[in-house]
């Protein structure tokens, strides 16, 4: 390309009218076309296929699990599963209504413990002056807690609740699960609060809002969709936890309500522990029931997430 350019310019210096005629002189348009002969194009195609292939590979486990659940658990789905108690060995029929209720109660109680605690500590971390030692210690602790082995949370709740109250209970299970929910809620809520534009905070303070009013009337409502996402993630994780419940809520073949009285201080069934117990049994009815319980659990998490999404969408629109 250099030679024609050079000749051009030397010509142009003698003929001043020439340069405006073809402003694209010296541009080789063949350069702009894609061609398989160029390495750039080849690498592009190769990487595209690589990424697509990896994505498919990563999706295989997810879809195979969902397919197996639908295939093996779907057959067993019936109303009786939701209303009846677990069957004894060799008994036909039965259900796991008490385990569904138990999981709902344990997760709800755990959420009651971890949501206020998590959001309040997130507010503290987000509002503490930059460079605050205490805030960075709390943040570090929360990060350590995200990788906390779930069985240790169970051991902790066993020591702290089961031994002190004298028995396995839904409360003990909830305490164990809440420890696992706490870091997810705290860290995502902190991020969500930090994402609120500084100018909104400034606006509130400029209006004469106190710190409390700024947090409750501006920061938390604005960060709500993000906080909710964290809560949903935590709930999804909590619903499937088995190990911490083995030490704390144990299992039960009976309803939590007896004589019209709800007792949370007794061993409580949960879907996760039911799957764990039944999957290893040599009886076909129990094994099928474990598959059905797994499907129900996945659907419960899915429904919770859908509700959460529509809630946060409504918040954004309003």
């Amino acid at each position: 390309m250099a030679t024609p350019d050079a000749t051009n310019s030397s010509l142009l210096s003698t003929l001043p009218a020439e340069p405006d005629l073809n402003p694209f002189a010296g541009v080789d348009f063949a350069e702009l076309e894609t061609s398989l002969r160029r390495p750039r194009t080849l690498i592009n195609i190769l990487l595209t296929w690589l990424v697509a292939g990896m994505t498919l590979l990563a999706l295989i486990p997810l879809f195979s699990v969902v397919w197996m659940l639908l295939w093996r658990g779907g057959r067993k789905l019936s109303l009786a599963l939701f209303t009846q108690l677990p069957p004894a060995p060799l008994e036909q029929g039965g259900g796991f209504g008490n385990a569904i209720v138990g999981t709902l109660i344990i997760v709800a109680l755990a959420a009651l413990i971890s949501i206020p605690l998590g959001i309040l500590s997130a507010v503290f971390m987000a509002q503490a002056p930059p460079g605050s030692r205490l805030a960075s210690v709390v943040r570090f602790a929360a990060k350590v807690l995200t990788g906390f082995p779930s069985i240790l949370a169970g051991v902790f709740a066993y020591g702290a609740v089961v031994l002190t109250t004298g028995g396995y209970s839904a409360i003990a299970g909830a305490v164990a699960v809440s420890i696992l929910m706490l870091p997810t809620i705290t860290l995502t809520a902190e991020d969500a609060i930090r994402m609120v534009p500084a100018k909104m905070k400034e606006a509130a303070i400029g209006m004469g809002a106190t710190r409390t009013q700024t947090v409750t009337m501006v920061l938390l409502p604005t960060a709500f969709p993000g906080i909710l996402t964290g809560i949903m993630l935590a709930i999804a994780r909590a619903a499937g936890e088995t190990a911490p419940l083995l030490f704390t809520a144990l299992f039960s073949n009976y309803w939590l309500i007896s004589n019209h009285h709800l007792n949370l201080m007794q061993p409580t069934a949960s879907l996760a522990v039911l799957i764990y117990n039944f999957a290893g049994m040599p009886f076909q009815n129990q094994v099928e029931m474990a598959w059905a319980a797994a499907l129900v659990m996945v659907l419960m998490v899915l429904i919770t997430n859908l509700i959460g999404q529509s809630l946060s969408r409504r918040q954004i629109q309003s």
């Binding site: 002056p129 100018k199 909104m200 400034e202 400029g206 209006m207 106190t210 604005t222």
Partner: protein, 283 residues
Amino acid sequence: MPVTIETKEHPQDGKPRGDAGRKATNDNVVIDCHIKELYYGTFKAVRDTAIPVKKNAITAFIGPSGCGKSTVLRCLNRMNDLVRGFRFEGHVHFRGRDIYHPSVDAVAVRRFIGMVFQQPNPFATSIYNNVAFGLRLNNFKGDRHAKVEEALKRAALWEEVKDKLHNSGLSLSGGQQQRLCIARAIATEPEVLLMDEPCSALDPIATRKVEELMLELKTRFTIAIVTHNLHQAQRVSDVTGFLYVDTTQGGRTGYLVEFGESKQLFEDPKEKHTKEYIRGEFS
């Protein structure tokens, strides 16, 4: 914060106006601000700036970037308290009371002296809730709807939003958002409205609307405005203070060069720096 002697003489019983002292002759000065020295950490940002803000008038602060005019404005309702390392010597008297006196609550000050910011900053909630925000803060018991409507009408926004009060404030255009912020600020009827370059993010048409609005609002409120736009200061303000940067003592310290009636300051400035700045002969 050093406390001036005059302040100590004022009664601290929560009455907004002290009767004693030197401001008896200057009755219509709502905010009397005198900054001797103002620091951010060790950086001396402003020195020797005294500006009286008069009732039902528009006081403009002009000057080159970095001259501290926004800093001075933010002193008037203690927004600088949020900045770490902020420290100042001097006084800011609001109706005769020193708002930096230890017994004064900064939050309460901001309810009397509202603020409109450079970037429109509505909350991520409905138009209605944005305007009602201040009413909620103050636990306003009366007719909230009437107040919201009144504020939006005064901010010349009512006609444009009356059918979509429950849409998000963020769905409005920039100019509308700024008028929404003005409506939000005046809904609680503050005495003074501080405006920190309120039009710098707006197009000329929106700017014109906000300027008309300011002239309208000054009959009820007292306004202090920081602006980069000399024409804007000339169009809307009654009195103008010109601040300039002093680089002679190391660092960049802003100070008040000239203060006076806008007409006089723009047509016949007394100081050399003012003359140069207004004519655009500026390095």
